[in-house]
Symmetry: C2
Subunit: 626 residues, 2 copies
């Protein structure tokens, strides 16, 4: 087995309550460098096309990478992969904190869950020993309650990933939470966990990650940590956290406001990073071994939620639960964020779906009869908090909102699809691509649907932060779409997929070059691993993920944006009057597919590209009979 | 006349005490976009080759640019150009604060001084009226004293540039100071001013800079200020000032220590930005109209200099007056910096020359007989302060140090030239190029001698900050010299020369693209001014400056580094064992001259390049008889 990996996978057959250990596929580990690509290789092979995401056939796969749990900068991450109940295609979520490292210290690189347990269970892994235990006493409890109960009754030093009531209730954007406040948030993988009646995974162990060249690894990692410790990135993030970018996005006119009706939030000063510092910040929080302290330990110091504390909100959550609903009360936004964490909800999809519902109500598409008399008005902070609870519990109108904006629009009709702000069912994050066109292309080409962090071209556009991880991430004029910029997007997608795979945080791609990273990966794994292989690893994974989506019915036609972005001009700010018209989007897609080596007509990876990447077995799946 | 300019130059014939006004050369203003290039065009034409820098023939030329004094981000800067008494070649210094804007409001784009006044004078310009006044009462006073005296006795609202005793005493690295604490520091132009017996220039006026399209200009400027207000750059600089980079450079092993014997300073924590904040910071200070508050208003709060206050020290000053002399007492460094400002000394050359003297003494090349018994030891904070005063007053050993490290090495011999850390006589700034090779090439190609800010390739290497102003400023591996990186250097030199010319601060080139800037320049001047012309303007100026140096005897042979950098490996840190060997440097120079269109054998701009840039008249000067 390669160094850097523990070499073992757990398989939990929940239907029969059996847990077995098996060797990790060494060849796949190297082909994908771990993480989401490696997990997707299992998913692609084991879950048949058309499977019900909430059924027994779906797999829920946790996977780490070779750097996860090593003493290097930001090696905290783990990925979860499954077919998504929100989008019906490839589902992926990723989280930091300390759960990924804990899983490896417990002896495993990953876990594959299949089947459905007859009653609630949790999986406990201590020093290599894995057992399923009944979880009836945990069912119905919030995430912090579950963690506290498990730790109180369990062995020393447990680190926990769990779902809350939202996951149990199959809210289609339920999150998997770890360290109480960290979310593997997107794509509703908490609902997959809930459907399997798996409440939590609790790990403890002391096994060290085996390193091929420990001395070299430590020296390389130390140098990188030293650099990160003395960086602009750290200065900014330590001081202000991710919400630092709120002002940067707002000033560029791309801060989604009132369900994307506007690109500037008039009350930005009440919700920006300075406001967070003034009103709720207690202390910065970092992930395992990370020198950058971007997390925010917070508490509400006044008003009706006084005394509540937790972590966040992060930038995205402030926007979706705030400006998108026209709410500027930072204490209320913070409380809504705490509730999303406690119940286990993706804040982006939750806030965005609420904002969508508010506009539906304003337009009479959603009626008082349907809401049970509840008045859904923009700007009502108490209502947002109430709706978060109703969604998590599927109470009243919350039951409809729990399906997400795409399903709601299908149910409600009345032209609401035009302003249901999702791509392929995944609600969009807080960067309006009308103010940075390349970000719109990024939303339609991200394999999991409307997502920013797949390529994070928001970095070099909205926040003027280029990524050293790629050769050139520069976008000259965000307002103007140029076909050759698709090359930047492709490079960013591939490189960040590789960084993600090994267990690194994508923010590190701002400061660490591919050369820096391959040195670390080679020292960890013992592979002769160069920049070329680093990039190809990401490209291979990206094509496999696309293939998974294609097999589920995705083609070029579904690579598109909500109607609002293509036809409703932004009313204000520096991007006033702008849209991404369909012609521009299609022009950019042409360029993108060409750079990718995908068929332009269908958006499907061409046989030649698949073979070049060693994915020969996919050719028949995608091309037979076309 | 173009908009953006006042359209008038002052000419002060100091020998005869006459001041006249003349129209600014409109054609030259456009060819060089103002600033140092424009000033150099006058200098080149008016000062004969071989002129004595301290003689009557030399011109001292102050020049602003079209953005100076406009309501745009960081439009505060003015340049001073003359033949340098320190280097004997093209001399240039640039400063912010409010003097540049004040000169324009008084009615003039620039001033050309020639001759030598029989007695001390100052020039007063109020609302377009310029007069020379006797300055006997000011002679011998420090910079703050001069400012206070002039303001006490003069008209309302005077903004002042002045020299201190160092300039009067012809210290070859005397600075011109404005706003008491801001320095047009490099190349000893304060000595030129002193030689002309010009103590100060005092301006007042209310004339507005004429703008071609005021509404468009204000809107464009507003958008850019908004962007800068919400930037990583501002967050970092506001919090920590320029000394923020101390840790970044130190951690990369390029923080010059003990006269460049080492690349890491063990006591960095005592002198870094956090230490400044803790020990001496009072408040941030910004330049005219600038949203970035990088200046440090400071005071000494304890110890023997308690109660002294002023501005700074900036990053360079902390290093040269600190680590280079092995001094880690931040209060002492701050006091030494105040004295440099009060006496009007360039801190880089002052600290660096002192460090050189310390090593000469340690090696017995400088003897107690020569120092008058003074023991010159590394690590003696009181000594550094004492030497600053002795240099400014040319007292005792200070008289030798006042000549700069190159002249000292020639006087002292004993192999000291090897560690006299200057290029072409200009002492090097605080970035060791053994830890970032491209910076070494930058030192040898900067027209004014060993300088960092000409190209600031230290940004994309030591501090991982790329410059959006150029197409691509990325340097993949700072430790390894690649010939194609010379292209980055050329692009940076040209673009920053243009930015400097229009009156902008080079830090703005981190965040403002050429596209951003040309919009502003076009709105100010009414020129149809595109990115291509922006870049060519800088290239034209760069070639003219080079031509000036060539005419004074500079060829490829003088484009070289101190012996220490080429043959003494760094002893510690990540760059341990590294030098820039001569072969590598020559390889990089080959690539550089090629990208520049300069003759490889001589380093002289080729006739074709000069003609391409409209500098046809230089061809004969440089090539006749070769």
């Amino acid at each position: 087995m390669s160094y850097g990996f523990m070499g073992k996978l757990l398989r939990a057959d929940l239907t029969h309550g059996q847990v077995t250990s098996e060797p990790l596929r060494d060849d796949w580990a190297r082909q994908f460098a771990g993480g989401a690509g490696l997990a997707t290789r299992y998913l692609y092979d084991e879950v048949p096309p058309g499977a019900d995401p909430l059924g027994a056939e779906n797999r829920l796969i946790f996977m780490t990478g070779p750097l996860t749990g090593t003493p290097s900068a930001s090696a905290s991450r783990y990925s979860v992969v499954a077919k998504s109940p929100l989008t019906g295609i490839w589902g992926h979520a990723n989280s930091g904190g300390t759960f990924g490292p804990a899983l490896k210290r417990a002896g495993y690189d990953g876990i594959i869950f299949d089947g459905i347990s007859p009653q609630p269970v949790y999986l406990q892994i201590v020093d290599g020993q894995a057992e399923l235990h009944p979880a009836d006493h945990l069912w119905g409890t919030t995430v912090p309650e579950t963690e506290d109960l498990l730790r109180a009754g369990g062995p020393q030093g447990l680190t926990i990933a769990a779902i809350g009531p939202a996951g149990e209730n199959l809210v289609r954007y339920a999150a998997i939470m770890n360290n109480k406040h960290r979310a593997a948030g997107r794509c509703g993988l908490g609902a997959v966990m809930g459907a399997k009646r798996l409440k939590a995974i609790a790990c403890a162990g002391q096994e060290a990650v085996p390193l091929a060249d420990q001395a070299l690894f430590r020296q390389t990692a130390r140098t990188q940590i030293d650099l990160l410790n003395e960086s602009f990135l750290k200065v900014g993030f330590d001081a202000f956290g991710t919400n630092m970018v709120a002002d940067m996005v707002n000033v560029r006119g791309g801060y989604p406001t009132r369900n994307w009706q506007m690109g500037r939030f008039e009350q930005i000063e009440e919700v920006n990073a300075q406001a967070m510092t003034d009103k709720v910040l207690v202390e910065g929080v970092n992930c395992f071994a990370c020198p950058v302290v971007c997390g925010r330990g917070t508490e509400i110091r006044e008003g009706k939620w006084q005394g509540h504390s937790g972590e966040g909100p992060e930038y995205e959550s402030v926007n979706t639960l705030g400006a998108q609903c026209e709410v500027s009360d930072l204490n209320a936004i913070t409380m809504a964020n705490y509730l999303c964490n406690d119940y286990g909800l993706d804040t982006i999809s939750a806030g965005s779906t609420i904002a969508f519902a508010l506009e539906c109500y304003e337009r009479g598409i959603l009626t008082p009869e349907q809401t049970g008399g509840l008045e859904l008005r923009f700007g009502d902070a108490d209502l947002v908090i109430d709706l978060v609870e109703k969604i998590a519990r599927r109470e009243g109108i919350g039951d409809l909102l729990a399906e997400g904006s795409r399903a709601m629009a299908r149910t409600l009709g009345g032209g609401s699809e035009h302003f249901a702000m999702n791509v392929k069912g995944l609600e969009l994050p807080a960067y309006d691509p009308r103010a940075a066109k390349i970000c719109g292309l990024g939303y339609v080409t991200a394999n999991r649907g409307g997502d920013h962090i797949t390529a994070y071209v928001e970095g070099p556009t909205f926040i003027d932060v280029p990524f050293l991880l790629v050769e050139d991430s520069s976008i000259r004029d965000p307002f103007v779409a140029e076909p050759q910029e698709a090359r930047v997007l492709v490079d960013m997608e591939n490189a960040l997929t590789s960084l993600d795979a090994v267990g690194g945080c994508k923010f590190m791609g701002i400061l660490l070059s591919a050369e820096d990273l391959v040195g670390l990966i080679a020292a960890a794994t013992g592979w002769e691993f160069g920049v070329e292989e680093f990039r190809q690893t990401g490209e291979r994974a990206y094509n496999l993920m696309r293939a998974y989506c294609v097999r589920e019915g995705i083609t070029r036609d579904q690579d598109t944006l909500p109607g609002r972005l293509m036809s409703d001009p932004l009313p204000d700010g520096p991007a006033a009057g702008m849209v991404i018209d369909r012609e521009t989007l299609e022009m950019m897609k042409d360029a993108y597919y060409e750079f990718r080596g995908w068929d332009k007509a269908s958006g499907i990876p061409l046989p030649g590209k698949l073979r070049e990447l060693g994915l020969d077995d996919l050719v028949d799946d995608l091309w037979a009979g076309r």
